[in-house]
Symmetry: C2
Subunit: 343 residues, 2 copies
Amino acid sequence: MPELRYNFVTGEWVIIATERAKRPEDFAPRDGRKTLPAHVPTCPFCPGNESQTPPELFRIPRRGALGPGGPVSDWQVRVVPNKFPALDAQAELSRKTEGLKRHVSGAGLHEVIIETPEHNRTLALLDEPEIELVVQAYYRRYEAITSDPRIAHATLFRNHGERAGTSLEHPHAQIVGTPIMPPQVRSRMENALRFYDETGECLNCSVLAQELHDRDRIVAQSEHFVAFVPYAALTPFHIWMFPLRHIASFLETGPEELADFARLLRQVLRKLYFGLEDPDYNLTLRAPPREASGLKYFHWYAGIIPRLTRTAGFELGSGMFINTTLPEQCAAFLRDTPANAPS
Amino acid sequence: MPELRYNFVTGEWVIIATERAKRPEDFAPRDGRKTLPAHVPTCPFCPGNESQTPPELFRIPRRGALGPGGPVSDWQVRVVPNKFPALDAQAELSRKTEGLKRHVSGAGLHEVIIETPEHNRTLALLDEPEIELVVQAYYRRYEAITSDPRIAHATLFRNHGERAGTSLEHPHAQIVGTPIMPPQVRSRMENALRFYDETGECLNCSVLAQELHDRDRIVAQSEHFVAFVPYAALTPFHIWMFPLRHIASFLETGPEELADFARLLRQVLRKLYFGLEDPDYNLTLRAPPREASGLKYFHWYAGIIPRLTRTAGFELGSGMFINTTLPEQCAAFLRDTPANAPS
């Protein structure tokens, strides 16, 4: 029997369409894991081509050769402005409303975080110390971008694979700082605020308590974080990662917590990589703006949406999703998938 | 300079990223128009295979052969339950909330409207009398589905092409009647209600007045409808079709108005078909539930979203869209594209 499930965090209903259900293992794509070279001479993000990007904003240095006999790189993580930015870093912020035409100037920041000098080492394939540096870079740039007075909100995301919308295969994330608060983010904050006013509890803390009690949707857990398939997951293998401690803003996360987040993220991405043969996915940070620090009602989290299905007219016309898997089955499959390469 | 534009109807901001801009004609895909046979013996929606669908719910009859020397069909439009329904037509409606798990039984209706007996005659290629029959069938099934007491809302949509999420190429639309009101639809009704309370005007009537005044985003106009690219279009060639008269519910549309809508829809789809080489698209009806009849603050409309770009992490993480074309340029391109086959 199909059922509808409500997501208290997003305020969305999802149809869990078990009549159309597939087994989790049916989602491993036929084309399997991508095999890429470690270095691509024409890739603007590969070492040696640093001059092809706009001037560097930030780097984490590195010493030594890449791979056996590979080229030398003097950086491990590199952050540059997006060469084709969605918003203009130089523009002044202005607003105008003329009848029903409301306009804000395209002032904003759009940066690319090049996560590794090695073309073929996607996040799931980095070592623990390497992915910790990547998450450090996320934090540092999120901090820098949200301190620009023109920026009302920053969206940090990564697109892995063509179905997830990437045009460059070299591993990278992006941050877009917008001069307005995205209405969807505000609406989730309002949900959380209403819940807090009604119950005196943080909504995400309550969701966490439910997940830790039920346990059947949990994928993996570390000292400071838990990864689970939400009760009303939008898509097959949709995953949320919540800090166990109540932390409103991403910027309030401590260095040890960040490193722990990086390691759990690696573990989850490896389960997807080995269990589902390197699926395309989007990773997003659901972090409220800077001034949210200390808020009792909000609690940041990260979301991973594997792009195994397509949104169609029903989703566009209703805003609802149809998920053809049972969240509990997806979680069990990922729990049972080792985070290490199959031997 | 990029800019952000606000959509009063949806409450969404969109980034119009002109730095990444493409010319409208750059969107005509390389693979061009699909060439399909008129009849496919293995297609469950082709004449002769009527027994492969669940029992028929509705038909508009036809007499005569299809194409020169083609098979005979005794129907022109046929409506059947979806063989793999997202919701269960037999289920009873029940609700349960247990902690933060809120559940509604998967009671609902999921129908397929087979729009023509001819496999290769997509909506844009039907004659005017044929597309009028299709829209009549939309109306009749929308009416039937929303009269089921378990149904809170019906979403009517059509997925054209693989990128729009279709799995069957034979021209068809779908209606899903859900036992809950989609939160996104409710949120747009709330927007419109707030606008009405503040101004005493229907929001969509006001948007129409703006479009008819500006004229530079209008694509085509008929006696009763206007098609335009919204000021804050989400994607390249995003199109809205509004009835010129204030009509809250789709079911209040008169027979002559429906026929006029069908003819304008055909004209718009032909402009896309010939101007952009048969792009994949989703068509949706933004129609509030049955009980909306007579509401002063709501006004139904149809939306067409060509699937020429992909949503990626930014869209998923913020709910905002990046549109790489100027709405005014897209509208001008479509205005200048004849609705007839190029000679």
